[in-house]
C-alpha cells in the first residue's frame, strides 16, 4: 500500500510541477495546490499506513498509527490554504493592475 501511495505521490508531483512551470497564473496556483496534496500523502505514508488504530487513546488499542505525521499534515493543510488564498488574490490583483495573467508579460523591463 505504501509503495502504491508513493507512486501516486510521484504522479501528483509530476502533474503539479508541469503546471507550476507554465505561464498562466491560475495553472501555477493549481500546481502548488496539487503539490501540497502530494506532500501530505508523502508525509503520511512515511509514518506507515494502517499499522494501528486511530491515534486516540480512548480507543485503548494495542497499537496506534504514528500521530506525528498527522500533526505535521494538519498544520500543513491550514498553511497551504492560507498561502493558496494569498497567491490567488495576488494573481487577480496583478491582473487588475497589469491587465495580464501571463507570467511572461509580467517580466518587467530591464531597467527595473
Amino acid at each position: 500500500m505504501e509503495s502504491l501511495i508513493i507512486i501516486l505521490v510521484g504522479v501528483l508531483t509530476t502533474v503539479a510541477i508541469y503546471l507550476v512551470l507554465s505561464k498562466n497564473v491560475v495553472r501555477v496556483i493549481l500546481g502548488t495546490a496539487i503539490l501540497s496534496h502530494a506532500v501530505h500523502l508523502l508525509i503520511l505514508s512515511m509514518g506507515g499506513l494502517k499499522v494501528g488504530t486511530v491515534p486516540l487513546l480512548g480507543e485503548e488499542a494495542e497499537v496506534y498509527v504514528d500521530a506525528l505525521p498527522q500533526a505535521l499534515i494538519l498544520t500543513a493543510i491550514v498553511i497551504s490554504f492560507a498561502v493558496t488564498a494569498f497567491i490567488l488574490v495576488l494573481a487577480y490583483r496583478a491582473y487588475q493592475e497589469l491587465g495580464t495573467d501571463n507570467l511572461g508579460a509580467m517580466r518587467g523591463s530591464d531597467d527595473e
Binding site: 500500500m1 505504501e2 509503495s3 502504491l4 508513493i6 507512486i7 501516486l8 505521490v9 504522479v11 501528483l12 508531483t13 509530476t14 502533474v15 510541477i17 508541469y18 507550476v20 512551470l21 507554465s22 505561464k23 498562466n24 497564473v25 491560475v26 495553472r27 493549481l30 495546490a33 496539487i34 496534496h37 503520511l44 505514508s45 512515511m46 509514518g47 506507515g48 494502517k50 494501528g52 491515534p55 498509527v65 504514528d66 500521530a67 506525528l68 498527522q70 500533526a71 499534515i73 494538519l74 493543510i77 491550514v78 490554504f81 492560507a82 493558496t84 488564498a85 494569498f86 490567488l88 488574490v89 495576488l90 494573481a91 487577480y92 491582473y95 495573467d101 511572461g104 517580466r107 527595473e112
Partner: protein, 800 residues
C-alpha cells in the same frame, strides 16, 4: 531580586517610551528625561561597589531557552562592574553634554532612542554570562552604532562611515559567533563561567585554536585593532557626543572587555599571548603614527583612540603570561599588566572623553575642527584650553594626571616582558618595550599637536565661521567632571585600585591576588622613568621639527592602505553580484521554478544514486484493498486529465476530486482529524477559487513552443521520479527509531487522549503558535492586497 536584569532592560524600556514622552512635553528638552536613566543606573552600580570589592559576585538568571542551554544569566564581577560604571557614568555625562551640543534642527527622539538602545545593549554585553545572549547584545551595539554614525544621514560620508563600521564589526561578530559555537561544541555549555571551569581539559582539541582566533577576530574588529582599525576614523562622522561615548569610551572597549573576559579561558598559551600582544602593539604604533599627521582634530582623536586601544589590548596580552606561571613571584610580576590594563581602560575613558568634548566645543563654537584653520584660541576659550591641556597631557603620560600612572605601569609591563622566561620571548622579547617606547613618542607628539596647533599660534579669525567665545556653562560641566577625575585619580589612585581594579583583576587572572600593586607615582630612578623622560625630550624635538621629517608619511603610496582594499573589495562584490543577478534573475517566474526543481533533482537525486542509498523493499507494505486501488486510479486519472483541461472550471473540479479523495484516504489511514480538516478546507478552497475567478480571465491554451513544453515535461517527470524513488527508499529502511512512541504517553504528559491534538497544543505548541501567526499574516496580506489600490488611474493615464 533581578536587579541586574532590570538594569539591562531599563534603557530598552526607556527607548520605547521616548516617542510617547516626546509628543507630550512640547518645548522641554527630552534629554533631561533621558539623563535620568544613566544616572539611576550609575547609582545602582555604585551601590554594588562594596560587595564587589569584597570579592563577591552577583548572578541572576532567568530561563530563556533552557532546552538549548540559553539562559539570560546576568553576572556581575569586578570587570563587569568597571564596564558598567563606565557605560552609565560616561553615559550620564554624554547625555548632559549632548543636550547643549545638538542643534534644534536635529531629531532628538531618534538620537536619544539610539543612544539608550546602545546603552542597554552595551550593558547586556558586559553583564551577560551566556555567550549567545552576549552575542545578541554585541550585534545590537553594532546596529545602534550604525544608526548613530548615520545620524546625519543626509551626508554621504556619514552613510559611508556607518556602512563601513557595520560591515567590519558584524563580519567580526559572525566570526565570534562561530567561535562561540565551537566553544559550545567542545564544552557543551554556553555559560562563560562554566566554560572557564572546564576549558583547560580541551587545549588539545582541534577546535581550541580556531575558537580562540575567531573570538579574537570579533574582539579585534570591535576594538578597531590593526588591520580592522579603518572603520573608526570614518565613524567620526557621528555627532561628537556619540564619538565620545561609543567610539572612545565604551563600545570600542567591548572587544577589550571580550579579551579580558576570555583571558581565564585561553590565557596562558603562547598563541594567545603573542597574538593579543603583537596586534595590540602594532595597533598602538600605527595609530599613534597616523594620528600625528591628521589635520582634523576628530580624526586625530580617532587614531589616538585606535592607538590607546592597542595599548590596552597589548597589556591584556602581556598579562595573560601570569596564567602560565600561576601564583608565585613570576605570576605576580606579569599579572601587573592586567592591573595596568584595567587602570588605563578607565583613564583612557576619562581623558579621551574630555578631549572629544573639547573638540565638540571647538566645532560647536567656531564651526571647524581643522587645525589648519585653528590657532590661538587660548585667549578666546581659556576654560576649554584648560580641559584640553589636562586631557592631552594625561594622554601623553605626563605627571600629575592619571595617564602618567597607568603609562608607567605599561612601561613596567613591557620591560618585564623583555625578560619573559617563556613563549620564546628571549629572542624577540626586547622588541616589546622598544615598540612601546617609539609609539609613545608619537603619542606625545600628537598630544602636543592637539594642544598647540589649536590653542597657540596666531589666531586666524577670518577663517572661522564665528567669533570664538566660551560655550554655555552646561556644555562645560561634563568635561570639567572628567578633568576632576583625571587629576583626582593621580592623587588617590589606590581608592580605585583597591575597590575596583583589584577584584576585576582577580576575576581575569584568578588565583594570583598578589599581582595588584600599591599604586604610587614615584618609583625612584628606574627604567620606566627614563623612558618617560626620553619621550618628553625626543617628542618635543620631533614636534618642533615636524616639517623636516613630514616626508616620512609620503613613503606609503596613496593606493596602499586598507581603506582602498576595503573599497575595492566592496566594489568588486557589487560588480560580481550585479553580473550574477543580470544573468540569473530573468524576472520570469517559470525560469525560477525551473532552477529550483533542477537543483532539487540534481542534488537529491544525485545523492540518492551516488551514495548508493537507493533501495526498494516492498515486503513491509500493508495490503491493498480493492476500493483503495480504485481510489488511487481515480486520483491518477483526475490529476492527468487536469493537464488537458479545456476550461479552468474543469480544472477546479478535478482539483476538488483530488482533495476529497485525499480526505477519504485520511479516513482509511486512521486520521480523523485530518479528514475533517481536509473536508472543510477543500470546500472553502474551492469556494475561494470560484470567487477569484470572477476577477480573472478564462485561461487560454498554453502557447509555449514545443521545445519549452518538452523541457518542462522532462523536468516535471524527473522531479516526480526523484520524489518517488526517495519515498520508496525511505520507506524500505529505517535509519533510526521512530520518535513517535514518546507522544503516545500524551495522556500522562498532556492530559489529552487525542495524540494529534496533544502534539499540536502541547508538545509542539511553539510550531502551532507560529503557524497561527503565518495564517494571520496571510490574512493580513490578502486584506491589504485588496484594499491597497496603487495610485488608482495614474498607470492607466500613462497608457492612454
Amino acid at each position: 531580586m533581578y536587579l541586574l536584569i532590570f538594569a539591562i532592560l531599563i534603557p530598552f524600556i526607556a527607548t520605547a517610551l521616548i516617542p510617547l514622552i516626546h509628543k507630550r512635553i512640547g518645548a522641554f528638552h527630552i534629554g533631561w528625561f533621558v539623563l535620568l536613566v544613566p544616572l539611576a543606573l550609575f547609582a545602582i552600580f555604585v551601590m554594588q561597589i562594596p560587595a564587589i570589592s569584597n570579592g563577591e559576585t552577583l548572578i541572576q538568571a532567568v530561563n530563556w531557552i533552557p532546552s538549548l542551554g540559553i539562559n539570560f544569566t546576568a553576572y556581575l564581577d569586578g570587570l563587569s562592574l568597571i564596564m558598567a560604571l563606565l557605560i552609565t557614568g560616561m553615559g550620564s555625562l554624554v547625555v548632559l553634554y549632548s543636550i547643549y551640543y545638538l542643534s534644534s534642527s536635529d531629531s532628538f527622539p531618534h538620537f536619544y532612542a539610539y543612544l539608550l538602545l546602545f546603552m542597554g545593549a552595551m550593558l547586556g554585553v558586559v553583564l551577560s554570562d551566556n555567550l549567545l545572549v552576549l552575542y545578541v547584545f554585541w550585534e545590537l551595539t553594532s546596529i545602534s552604532s550604525f544608526l548613530l554614525i548615520a545620524f546625519w544621514y543626509h551626508r554621504k560620508n556619514s552613510r559611508y562611515g556607518a556602512q563601513k563600521s557595520l560591515l567590519i564589526t558584524v563580519f567580526g561578530g559572525f566570526g565570534m559567533l562561530a567561535g562561540f559555537l565551537m566553544l559550545h561544541s567542545m564544552t557543551g555549555t554556553f555559560s562563560i563561567r562554566e566554560i572557564a571551569a572546564v576549558l583547560g581539559q580541551y587545549t588539545d582539541h582541534t577546535l581550541f585554536y580556531p575558537a580562540m582566533f575567531l573570538v579574537l577576530l570579533g574582539a579585534f574588529t570591535k576594538s578597531a585593532q590593526f588591520p580592522f582599525h579603518i572603520w573608526l576614523p570614518d565613524a567620526m562622522e557621528a555627532p561628537t557626543p556619540v564619538s565620545a561615548y561609543l567610539h572612545s569610551a565604551t563600545m570600542v572597549k567591548a572587544g577589550i572587555y571580550l579579551v579580558a573576559r576570555f583571558t581565564p579561558l585561553f590565557g596562558g598559551s603562547a598563541a594567545w599571548f603573542w597574538t593579543v600582544t603583537l596586534v595590540g602593539l602594532v595597533t598602538l604604533f600605527w595609530g599613534a603614527f597616523c594620528a600625528v599627521r591628521q589635520t582634523d582634530l576628530k580624526a586625530l582623536l580617532a587614531y589616538s583612540t585606535i592607538s590607546q586601544l592597542g595599548l590596552i589590548m597589548s597589556l591584556f596580552g602581556l598579562g595573560s603570561a601570569a596564567l602560565h606561571f600561576g601564583d608565585g613571584e613570576l605570576g605576580e610580576l606579569y599579572g601587573l599588566a592586567i592591573f595596568a590594563a584595567l587602570f588605563h581602560m578607565i583613564n583612557h575613558s576619562t581623558f579621551k572623553g574630555a578631549l572629544f568634548m573639547v573638540v565638540g566645543i571647538i566645532d560647536h563654537q567656531v564651526g571647524t575642527r581643522d587645525t589648519r584653520r585653528l590657532g590661538g584660541l587660548i585667549s578666546f576659550l581659556p576654560i576649554t584650553f584648560t580641559f584640553a591641556v589636562i586631557g592631552s597631557f594625561s594622554m601623553a603620560g605626563l605627571p600629575f594626571f592619571n595617564g602618567f600612572l597607568s603609562k608607567e605601569m605599561f612601561f613596567t609591563a613591557t620591560v618585564n616582558a623583555a625578560i619573559l622566561p617563556a613563549f620564546g620571548a628571549s629572542t624577540w622579547g626586547l622588541l616589546i618595550p622598544v615598540i612601546a617606547w617609539i609609539a609613545s613618542v608619537f603619542t606625545f607628539v600628537y598630544c602636543m599637536v592637539f594642544v598647540f596647533r589649536t590653542f597657540f599660534g596666531t589666531p586666524q579669525l577670518k577663517k572661522l565661521d564665528r567669533k570664538p567665545v566660551e560655550p554655555s556653562i552646561g556644555m562645560l560641566i561634563s568635561p570639567a567632571i572628567l578633568c576632576i577625575f583625571i587629576v583626582g585619580l593621580f592623587f588617590v589612585p589606590n581608592l580605585l585600585g583597591d575597590h575596583l581594579l583589584k577584584p576585576a583583576m582577580n576575576g581575569i587572572i584568578p588565583g594570583i591576588p598578589g599581582a595588584a600593586p600599591h599604586i604610587s607615582a614615584w618609583h625612584g630612578f628606574n627604567a620606566e622613568l627614563f623612558m618617560t623622560l626620553g619621550i618628553i625630550v625626543i617628542g618635543t624635538f620631533l614636534f618642533l621639527t615636524f616639517r623636516s621629517w613630514y616626508k616620512i608619511y609620503l613613503i606609503q603610496p596613496a593606493g596602499w592602505n586598507f581603506t582602498v582594499l576595503y573599497n575595492s573589495f566592496l566594489k568588486g562584490l557589487k560588480r560580481a553580484a550585479n553580473w550574477i543577478t543580470t544573468h540569473y534573475m530573468t524576472g520570469y517566474l517559470p525560469a525560477y521554478f525551473a532552477y529550483i526543481f533542477i537543483f532539487f533533482i540534481v542534488t537529491s537525486g544525485g545523492a540518492l544514486i551516488f551514495t548508493g542509498a537507493l533501495s526498494i523493499d516492498l515486503t513491509a507494505d500493508s495490503p491493498i484493498a480493492i476500493y483503495e486501488g480504485m481510489l488511487i486510479a481515480v486520483m491518477v486519472i483526475a490529476a492527468i486529465s487536469m493537464l488537458f483541461a479545456k476550461s479552468r472550471l474543469t480544472a477546479i473540479l478535478l482539483n476538488g476530486v483530488l482533495g476529497f479523495s485525499i480526505a477519504i484516504f485520511f479516513v482509511l489511514f486512521r486520521a480523523p482529524d485530518l479528514a475533517l480538516t481536509q473536508l472543510v478546507i477543500e470546500t472553502v478552497t474551492t469556494a475561494l477559487f470560484l470567487l477569484c475567478f470572477n476577477f480573472l480571465p478564462e485561461w487560454t491554451k498554453e502557447d509555449s513552443p514545443k521545445r519549452t513544453k518538452i523541457r518542462n515535461a522532462v523536468i516535471a517527470i524527473s522531479a516526480g521520479v526523484t520524489v518517488t524513488l526517495i519515498g520508496l527508499t525511505v520507506n524500505s529502511g529505517r535509519l533510526f527509531d521512530s520518535i513517535s512512541g514518546y507522544f503516545e504517553d500524551s495522556y500522562e504528559l498532556a492530559g489529552g487522549d487525542n495524540i494529534v491534538n496533544a502534539i499540536l497544543g502541547d508538545f509542539r505548541a511553539f510550531d502551532t503558535m507560529l503557524e497561527s501567526l503565518v495564517l494571520f499574516i496571510a490574512g493580513l496580506g490578502v486584506y491589504t492586497l485588496i484594499r491597497l489600490k496603487l495610485g488608482k488611474g495614474t498607470k492607466k493615464d500613462e497608457h492612454q
